[in-house]
């Protein structure tokens, strides 16, 4: 019996736990839009300008990391059957720390405020550690033998590496030691490739077959992707930064790239074999994500082969095309489901028949993610243009991103409002009955 001590299959955390993270993300997306809209377009010509540093961190921390940490607190209990300890407090503190942390970091990088950078150097690691440690405890207690379990653990490990490297760079910005610019790519690699890819794939193995009723991913791929990918990261990092061996660096890149291409192709192939045939914006978002992943890989190799491809383009296609699309697709599935689930569970707890509760399509009508998908696709095209013609596309891209943030925020808040009103009705009926 003792091995079942931590087991609880009903451990969906309170709605607020992931929600407060989800609701924060559109604010940072909006800020990224404002930055694109208002910064001097000449700043987009060089990746080291304050505008680029501000924009990339609004995107990867304010949007990607914030949503992913929120989702992590939801998926670990659901997919691994193991609750995060002190889930509510962890979420509240993670949120309280990360919101000002991102804001200070971006201000620090954009306007050069040293005090802001110092504050961010304390707040961001604290925010990540609070959530990551709780998630690791839950993962270690899980009885699930699904590969997702060690993907999430390795993803968190990669996040820690990113954090340490980010902290190192930040202290360089603060003048503690010479700014180690060479570490930027290492920091970017462990964040974008390590944390992001391991989290997205670890979740994809389970949710892609679930959402579209596709065949399962091949067991061999699920088992070997993470160890090989992690090994590839180590080889690349080692070859580039410590051993200065270009051939080793190339071998690491080739391994990572081959795995990513394999993941994208297998996902697309499984989706062609889906049993569920009705239109679904999440499917569109995931296909866009996988297409972008293939494109980012192609661009990366063409650039290495000497073609005149802007340095940032593969990274933009990866971070916005692949990661951004996957995140949006997931958000539009997770939130409406959680609204329904929490209302139904509450009705059950109150002994009420759950009649008239909003289903997923009523919490967020399917036309909304469809509209967002079209706008997002347009925005991706504009964003790619930033590498060539910033003077023409920066402002329209900024305005469109602002609109996307506004729509996303409105859609999420709409679902929250529906939850609130039905919840109040249930409490009235439960209290009166």
């Amino acid at each position: 019996m003792s091995r079942y001590a931590g087991l609880s299959l009903a451990n969906t955390p309170p709605l607020e736990v992931p929600l407060r993270f989800f609701l924060l993300a559109p604010w940072f997306l909006g800020a990224a839009g404002l930055l694109l809209l208002t910064a001097d377009p000449a700043q987009w010509l060089n990746r080291w300008t304050p505008a680029w540093l501000g924009l990339t961190h609004l995107w990867v921390l304010g949007f990607m990391l914030v949503v992913m940490l929120g989702a992590l607190q939801q998926v670990v209990p659901i997919l691994l059957g193991s609750a995060l300890p002190a889930a509510e407090r962890v979420s509240r503190w993670g949120h309280r720390l990360i919101a000002p942390g991102v804001l200070f970091l971006v201000l620090g990088l954009f306007i050069g405020c040293r005090l802001c950078l110092g504050a961010a150097a304390l707040l961001l690691p604290a925010a990540v550690l609070v959530v990551a440690i709780a998630a690791l405890v839950a993962i270690s207690r899980s009885l699930s033998e699904h590969p997702s379990r060690y993907y999430l653990a390795l993803a968190l490990l990669a996040l820690m590496v990113t954090l340490v490297l980010g902290g190192w760079l930040l202290l360089g910005h603060l003048g503690w030691w010479p700014l180690p610019r060479g570490f930027t790519d290492l920091h970017l690699t462990w964040g974008l490739l390590g944390w992001t890819v391991l989290l997205v794939t670890g979740v994809a193995w389970q949710v892609v077959p679930m959402f579209q009723i596709t065949p399962r991913y091949p067991g061999l791929l699920m088992r070997w992707f993470a160890p090989l990918f992690f090994f590839g990261l180590l080889v690349w990092s080692g070859g580039r930064w410590w051993l200065h061996r270009p051939w080793l660096e190339l071998a690491g890149q080739a391994l990572l790239s081959a795995l990513l291409i394999l993941f994208a192709l297998v996902t697309l192939w499984l989706q062609t074999r889906r049993r569920r045939r009705i239109p679904d914006a999440t499917l569109d978002f995931w296909r866009l994500a996988m297409g972008s992943l293939l494109l980012a890989n192609g661009l990366w190799w063409l650039r290495l082969a000497g073609m005149a491809i802007p340095e940032l383009l593969p990274v933009l296609v990866f971070a916005a095309g692949f990661v951004g699309s996957a995140i949006l697709g997931m958000l539009y599935k997770i939130l409406p489901f959680l609204v329904w689930l929490h209302l139904t569970s509450r009705a059950q707890a109150l002994g009420l028949v759950p009649r008239g509760l909003p289903n997923m399509n009523q919490a967020i009508p399917s036309a909304r993610p469809r509209l967002l998908f079209r706008l997002y696709l347009t925005w991706l095209l504009l964003l790619s243009g930033l590498c060539w013609w910033p003077q023409w596309v920066a402002r329209p891209a900024g305005a469109l991103l602002l609109l996307l943030a506004l729509l996303l925020g409105t859609h999420l808040l709409g679902a929250v409002r529906i939850h609130k009103s039905h919840r109040a009705r249930l409490e009235r009926e439960g209290g009166g009955g």
Partner: protein, 144 residues
């Protein structure tokens, strides 16, 4: 293995789910009525096998009556409520309402199945190993 049998049955139910949804989406209402009925019966049969055969025996052997099996039962109730709502939408020929409910059922069912297949069923296999054949035979006869 109990887990193989029940996991395969999940996949059978998924297939019926997709067929019913497809018929509603394409407005073939009479076929939809039929497919929905088939899906509902298959899933109901699956629930009954668990609730009448496997869960009680597992609870008896482990003493865990308020543990994972209880949570699974509560989720069965939530899914049965969705079937009622879907049946109402089908009778009213309201495809939006049906598709909204079926989308919800899909996610509910899939996360439920994932928890069963990854955690609960391996526990069933471990505890009911010696009597698996007899239990499987009883399970097949449930409702029949």
């Amino acid at each position: 293995m109990i887990s193989d049998f029940l996991s395969n049955d999940h996949q059978h139910c998924d297939q019926l789910f997709a067929e019913a949804e497809q018929k509603v989406a394409s407005g073939e209402w009479e076929a939809a009525d039929e497919e929905f009925q088939r899906m509902r019966e298959a899933i109901e049969h699956h629930f009954e096998m668990e609730e009448q055969v496997f869960f009680p025996r597992f609870e008896e052997l482990t003493g865990m009556t308020m543990g994972p099996t209880q949570v699974m039962r509560q989720e069965h109730v939530q899914m049965r409520d969705l079937f009622d709502s879907m049946a109402g939408a089908l009778a009213a020929r309201d495809s939006d309402a049906y598709l909204g409910d079926s989308e919800t059922l899909l996610i509910m069912m899939q996360q439920h199945n994932a928890k069963e297949e990854q955690i609960l069923y391996p526990m069933l296999d471990a505890h009911l190993q010696g009597e698996a054949e007899a239990l499987l035979e009883r399970a097949r006869d449930v409702g029949g």
